[in-house]
């Protein structure tokens, strides 16, 4: 039977309580519009989040959901996904939640290739605690906790995910609903960990952080749209190319020059990593789209296979097997 769900079916009865104008609204709307496409019954979808503004997300989705504790959503979702491979498990997290307090769980979920779709809402600020710098804030950022400017170098989330050899790594922007949905679709189709960084505007504590990539006057010269199988060019007149200079390790932006053709399925993460290094904190040349999309067995599949193989050896009812297990030792009998 074909499922006929609509965006409305994915709206919960809870009042959405993000600040008016927050980028989270557009991500939520895009998600609710996109979800019916999956053809997955609502009861088989679970959103797990940590703590932070973005982590309120599960309350607003009419699926199963858990709003957990700071940084730990990937760990909790891992236990759920591994023990219930029949579910579609999504993690919603933020830059502080995923990269600061929960950094360890994020990299381990990615290296294991757990079948999770991880959406990292990156607004480069701590919003829920009212405006401290985050692990993606630019060096020198002046915030409540860094009046003289932050002395911390930021993470590049895409580089970090690739360092953990994540099998699916992408970036998108809250303001581009179409792109957002296309990336979510690709992530959902991926078997294994899918890591999606979403640039998300916090209009209260870090307004305009991604304006360079959004403003109609500037975006064409700074935003690089990655399309599978297409040469990587950008600019108002497509005058810029991403090239691979001879003898160099990395990629480079040149005016003119021979653009490389994007291939997210390259097995060596070094290619996607080089792409991720095109953008610094200044967002000068920022690729969006799917950086890497390769196949390797997911943790869930491997664990499930071990269980299935072992269960094939079952030689009795559970109670009988338990009795045999308890007796499997040097035993002695007293009459």
């Amino acid at each position: 039977m074909e499922l006929k769900l609509t965006a409305k079916d994915f709206k919960s009865d809870q009042e959405v309580r993000w600040c008016p104008g927050c980028g989270d609204y557009s991500i939520l709307a895009a998600m609710q519009r996109f979800m019916p496409e999956l053809g997955i019954p609502r009861e088989n979808i679970v959103f797990v989040s940590g703590i932070g503004c973005s982590s309120r997300f599960p309350y607003y989705m009419n699926t199963y959901g858990m709003h957990s504790i700071h940084g730990r959503a990937p760990a909790i979702a891992t236990g759920l996904s591994v023990s219930r491979p029949d579910l579609s498990v999504w993690v919603v997290t933020g830059d502080g939640d995923a990269l600061s307090i929960g950094g360890n769980h994020l990299i381990h979920a990615l290296r294991r290739n757990v079948n999770l779709k991880i959406l990292l809402f990156n607004n480069r600020i701590y919003g829920l605690t009212k405006g401290q710098y985050s692990p993606t804030s630019e060096l020198g950022k002046i915030t409540k906790s860094t009046p003289a400017g932050s002395a911390d170098s930021p993470f590049n989330p895409i580089s970090l995910a690739l360092g953990a050899e994540a099998t699916f790594v992408a970036r998108t922007i809250d303001s581009d609903a179409k792109h957002l949905q296309s990336v979510m679709r690709a992530a959902a189709e991926h078997q294994g960990s899918a890591f999606v960084e979403i640039y998300q505007n916090c209009n209260i504590f870090n307004d305009g952080a991604f304006e360079l990539l959004k403003d109609a006057g500037s975006r064409d010269d700074h935003l690089i749209r990655l399309e599978q199988g297409e040469p990587i060019t950008f600019g108002a007149q497509k005058q810029f190319s991403v090239t691979h200079p001879a003898g160099g390790f990395g990629l480079k932006v040149e005016e003119g020059g021979e653009a490389i053709v994007h291939d997210a399925t390259v097995d060596d993460p070094a290619y996607a990593f080089a792409l991720s290094r095109l953008s610094g904190s200044d967002l000068g040349t920022t690729p969006i789209g799917v950086f890497r999309n390769v196949q390797r067995p997911s943790y869930d599949e491997l664990i499930t296979k071990q269980l299935v193989d072992a269960k094939a050896q079952a030689d009795g009812t559970p109670d009988q097997m338990l009795d045999a297990l308890l007796n499997k030792a040097d035993t002695w009998t007293i009459m």
Partner: protein
């Protein structure tokens, strides 16, 4: 090798305590384990105490590198591994020096003379050779050239010298097996399995064992051979088991008897890792084990699995519980089943990872933010870990609550005979998932409680029509929606406390053989053995004393207040600075007397006997 005792005199003993001691690399744990297994086969009651350093290989021949294994066996029911050894097997000077002070006068000491070189003696600060200077005059010393005799016995087998030397523990085992008339077939089978890929080592170890046995039979130094008759134990089939093994099997049994898949999230930590090792072998039962990246992920994954409808378990020791605290609080707020096993060790911080203590009781009861009550239970002996694990799972599943199971290093690594239960004698602990709306309006209310247990419905993802969201934010009663309402919070906090208090636990039983005791000794967890042995000894001497032992520490048994009130004096021995005593004094206003030891070692029965004697006589 024959079981005929030859011309040697055979003497009957009712009980013996043997301690095998050597360097960490000498295989003393294995030797002790095998001797225990042989002894179990014979039908003696047994109790064992391994004692080893945290270092994998401390410098050879040094005091910190000494590893020992004590086994107590008897022709009657015993409760402890014995206070002091009758026999010490010392594989080197360090082993002699480290253990000598525990020996009573007259004890037998079997020493490996090959290791008593000038250099080895100097390493542990012996100015003169104790075997020669008369300092061991009060003991019966048996000098045996263990290493060279082993190498000599294997000369024709063509094994490398190093392998031959390493087989000396089997020589020692052979000798002791002869001395105490142990059946050795299981050891030979064991060697065949252990070295299945190295036939040369099977032959070498068997030959070493035989050489040790034969040495006992022929040498004049050992004029007497001993026998300890089987104990009169309850009929049935037994195996020897450590607490960690029993706990792991108990979790498998809980999975079978609840019909839920077991999910273990764990991070390696001494002395709990063996539970992870054991459970990882039982995938056939649908057991998933995940070695997580840290303690927090381990419990997080277990909680995620519980949310999905599994029996979620995490195993750790004290430092790990500290890290898991926030997730335990989340589980309390989510009201999901979860079993947290804490195999306690000496703290604080890294403390003494291979030594025992009961100092995590406060943490188990109170170590979380907010009002965060949960259930706490503690096994009293190695085999009791099996039943305690099932009980922990029963409470977790029925009442949808985290349960902390407080084992400790003493029961975890100690062993005893276990009367094997049959699966159909084990409780059915299955629970029902919620599959449909639960209120009159046809809605699903995730926090609408069972009026009796106060448990909320367990509706797992995948159940159509029951989609709902839960989280750590305070929830409105019944609907589970986010709520900051003051009256609601008050209600929820009190309800969470009430539902733990509502857990049904068995009444506390009192052992008071003479029924005229005025002093009650109250214990919990692994002190059961030494307290019980001390009480028996006192009663045999005509001093009445009552013993009660708490398995359930939260909630406490309903009749505890009544029990306490029935005695003039209550004494509470604990391997901490009085944590249970504080609870009892605060809750029941009873002037309980704490008796505390925090040496990293279990109480000896003698220590408790003399303390209790004083209380019984002098009040």
């Amino acid at each position: 090798m024959s079981a005929s005792a030859g011309a040697k005199r055979v003497e009957q003993l009712d009980r013996v305590v043997i301690r095998f001691a050597g360097d960490s690399g000498d295989g003393m744990q294995l030797t002790g384990d095998r001797f225990t297994s042989e002894t179990a086969q014979l039908g003696n009651d047994i109790s064992t105490l391994p004692n080893f350093p945290a270092e994998i290989r401390a410098p050879a021949g040094t005091l910190p590198g000494v590893s020992s294994f004590q086994v107590h066996f008897a022709d009657y029911d015993i409760l402890t591994p014995g206070d002091s050894p009758h026999v010490l097997v010392a594989m080197n000077p360090a082993a002699l020096k480290a253990n000598l002070s525990d020996l009573p006068a007259g004890a037998d000491i079997i020493v490996n003379t090959d290791e008593f070189t000038k250099r080895s003696l100097a390493k542990v600060g012996y100015a003169a050779n104790p075997l020669e200077d008369g300092s061991l005059a009060e003991y019966a010393v048996h000098p045996v050239a263990l290493t060279s005799m082993t190498v000599g016995a294997l000369a024709e087998l063509g094994v490398a010298k190093k392998d031959a030397e390493r087989a000396k523990n089997m020589f020692a085992l052979g000798l002791l097996s002869w001395m105490y008339s142990r059946p050795f077939e299981s050891t030979l089978r064991f060697l065949e399995t252990k070295f299945a890929k190295r036939p040369d080592l099977v032959a070498a170890n068997k030959a070493a064992f035989q050489a040790g046995w034969n040495f006992g039979e022929t040498t004049e130094d050992f004029a007497v051979r001993y026998e300890v008759k089987p104990a009169r134990m309850q009929p049935g089939t037994y195996r020897n088991i450590t607490g960690n093994q029993a706990l792991a099997l108990g979790l498998v049994a809980a999975s079978v008897r609840s019909k839920l898949p077991l999910f273990l999230g764990a991070y390696p930590i001494t002395p709990a890792s063996d539970i992870l090792h054991e459970l990882s072998k039982h995938k056939k039962f649908g057991v998933t084990t995940m070695q997580a990246e840290d303690e927090i992920a381990a419990i997080g994954a277990a909680l995620g699995a519980s949310y999905g409808g599994a029996l979620g378990v995490t195993t750790t020791s004290g430092p790990g519980v500290a890290l898991k605290g926030e997730t335990i609080s989340l589980a309390i707020a989510l009201e999901l089943p979860l079993v947290i096993v804490d195999v306690q060790r000496a703290g604080p911080s890294t403390g003494m990872p291979t030594k025992t203590e009961q100092a995590d009781l406060n943490m188990a009861l109170y170590g979380r933010h907010g009002e965060a009550p949960l259930a706490v239970i503690a096994p009293k002996s190695p085999s009791d870990c099996f039943h305690a694990a099932i009980e922990a799972a029963r409470i977790a599943l029925k009442y949808r609550t985290p349960v902390i199971l407080l084992s400790d290093n003493y029961v975890a690594n100690g062993s005893e005979p276990w009367l094997l239960p049959s699966s159909d004698e084990l409780p059915d602990i299955s629970v029902e998932f919620t599959t449909g709306p639960n209120d009159a309006d046809g809605r699903f209310l995730p926090y609408l409680r069972d009026p009796e247990t106060l448990a909320r419905p367990w509706a797992v993802p995948g159940t159509a029509g029951l989609e709902h969201r839960i989280g750590g934010l305070e929830k409105a009663d019944k609907t589970g929606d986010i709520s900051y309402d003051p009256a609601n919070h008050e209600h929820m906090v009190r309800t969470r406390a009430a539902r733990i208090e509502a857990i049904e636990v068995p009444e506390l039983e009192v052992e008071d053989a003479d029924e005229n005791a005025r002093v009650l000794v109250l214990g919990w967890g692994s002190t059961y053995g030494p307290i019980g042995a001390a009480c028996r000894a006192l009663r045999q001497r005509g001093l009445p004393i009552a013993q009660a032992h708490l398995r359930h520490l939260a909630p406490l048994p309903a009749n505890l207040g009544e029990v306490l009130a029935a005695y003039d004096k209550v004494v509470i021995p604990e391997m901490n600075l009085g944590q249970l005593a504080h609870v009892i004094r605060a809750k029941y206003l009873v002037d309980a007397v704490p008796f505390n030891q925090v040496s990293g070692l279990p109480f000896t029965a003698a220590t408790l006997e003399s303390m209790l004697e004083d209380v019984v006589k002098n009040g």
